[in-house]
Amino acid sequence: MHIPDGYLSPSTCATLYALAASGWYSALGRVRRMLASRTIPLISVFAAFSFVVMMFNIPLPGGTTGHAIGVTVAAIVLGPSGSILAVSIALGIQALFFGDGGITTLGANCFNMAIIGSVVADAVYRLTAGHSEVHSRRRVWAAAIAGYASINAAALLTAFEFGIQPTLFHDASGTPLYAPYPLHIAIPAMMIGHLTFAGLAEAVISAGLVSYLQRSDIGLLHGVRATTGVPALESASSPLRLWWVIGILMLCTPLGVLATGTAWGEWSAADFANPEKRAKIEASSGQHAAPSSVPARLQKLSAIWTAPFPGYAPRFVKSTTFGYALSAMFGVGLLIMAGLVLSRFTKKARASESPS
């Protein structure tokens, strides 16, 4: 899923570079604050390791082979910040030294594989492994599941980036300018290959590595703590993770465009007057007859508030998909701001209560 130059439009590349840059910046900042001197050689060697693992042709159940990224083991051993840097550097070497993988799309590739890949791998691993013993079988399964999940998350994101190209970037005659397949083709096409081969390859190598480490070098599974005397790069709870989960969710929201129809209960006042819509409401409500005209109270209430983005798209945005994405980001942005303001207030309140 390494995207070459030419598949993504300049604006897509620029957006993904910006997203990747914020991921790099935060990962670098985090790593700098923790024993930066030791981590430079550690991350470098891990990046080299990831690079070499990417070359492995991994035999899969069924007799086929696939390629992995190694992001899952990096996330388990180095934590997500270290893993973000290590895999990004491996991808950077691929593009800058070997000329494989585009330079305009380096941001996109790093975002998909290094950043989202690391975050998903880490989150799923911790969730699935729970508080099980470091040498338990459960950890091996957790690594396999985390590997599978992270590759497919990255692949889904890549497919999404491909899929929105024809809708957003075409010329007057309708010719797609970059990747030519819309979402409903791009997503299944990409996911088939990754749900089967690449995802399995990453699962196999991650499980295999964790199993090997359990037998030979269990210190590493504690997050590089015991062996080298370096504290784990990531602490147990990480706000960074939350941000990125929100980010993923934001980006996945336009998938809602794929769902046709209106969600149950979200009908507007006008829907009731429309016979076609009313039939749909009835069908989805267990065939209860819908009122033939708008209930009076509903009419009154709906007049009070006219949303700034009715229909989930600002008026000036013509494309449905883009409008969807934009409004999702705006919505989540509002939520985040509200959360920050709230936490600031509660912090101040707590601070004023206690003298320390």
């Binding site: 300049p10 800058l96 590493l220």
Partner: protein, 272 residues
């Protein structure tokens, strides 16, 4: 799948990596056009050209930039056959394969129907496929030319002067160094395996072999990083990184940069 072909495929990837390193070392020492210019000008200039290829919308303009790329390659003493095998055929294989269905699937005015079927090639499908393949080829050609004409150290120094953080540049340098060491280690492990092979391995054993090789590689990597850290400390490393940059711009570099810039802007303007 033939006996141990997954090992062979992996080993072939290793060999390609080393040969790539050798080729670019040779290429960097040739007295050619690109080699004449400061590496920073090369990196930024090629980047501008690639961005212009991505920005412009006309097939004819992309084709023109491709022609320019070929001229630069020849002027930089690069073998066209090398470019063909490394870039052109490979991209045609992948991008061509991906673009093929687009011929039929893209909605638009049909211009050709495959006889005996109801598959119609639309004008838009043809244009989009051509544009995609040409773009990917041109961008890949440009980046490959850059990478084959510039030594790794110079790429790093160019990146550093473009204000990439010094820790990142150091990590890139160190990673590059250790990629080759790890490849050597992995190769040795696979080679010894192959020579001891008596008959085919079963599926689970193959996976275990890969996982074990990767595992040993991982343990060695971490141990190596610890030792490297001590070696760095021993030579005065204290957290800050200092590298020697000996690049200076001359008149030809300014001219070269101007040329790159004007071509890129022209391409974007004409191809908008």
């Amino acid at each position: 799948m033939s006996q141990d072909s997954f090992i062979e495929t992996t080993m072939r990837a290793f060999t390609r990596a080393f040969s790539k390193a050798l080729i670019s070392e040779r290429g960097a020492n040739q007295p050619g056009l690109l080699q004449f210019l400061d590496p920073r000008v090369r990196v930024v200039g090629v980047l501008f050209l690639v961005v212009s290829v991505i920005l412009c919308r006309k097939i004819s303009v992309v084709a023109a930039v491709m022609a320019l790329a070929v001229v630069i390659a020849v002027a930089s003493r690069l073998s066209l056959w090398l470019l063909a095998t490394r870039v052109w055929f490979v991209v045609l294989g992948f991008a061509g394969f991906i673009a093929l269905p687009a011929l039929f699937v893209t909605p638009g005015s049909p211009i050709f129907t495959v006889p005996g079927t109801h598959l119609a090639v639309s004008a838009q499908g043809l244009r989009t496929s051509a544009l995609l393949i040409l773009r990917v080829e041109t961008a890949a050609t440009l980046t490959t030319i850059l990478v084959l004409c510039t030594s790794w150290t110079h790429i790093l120094k160019a990146l550093r002067s473009l204000h990439l953080p010094v820790e990142i540049v150091t990590m890139l340098a160190m990673t590059h160094r250790y990629v080759f060491l790890l490849i050597e280690t992995a190769s040795q492990m696979f080679e010894s395996r192959q020579s001891r092979m008596v008959g085919q391995l079963a599926g689970p054993d193959r996976r275990r072999l890969m996982a074990r090789t990767a595992g040993v590689l991982l343990s060695k990597s971490v141990e190596l990083s610890h030792e490297v850290y001590l070696a760095m400390l021993s030579r005065g490393f204290d957290g800050e990184v200092h590298i020697l940059s000996v690049l200076r711009l001359r008149v030809r570099d300014y001219l070269g940069m101007a040329a790159f810039l004007s071509v890129s802007c022209l391409a974007v303007w004409i191809g908008r």
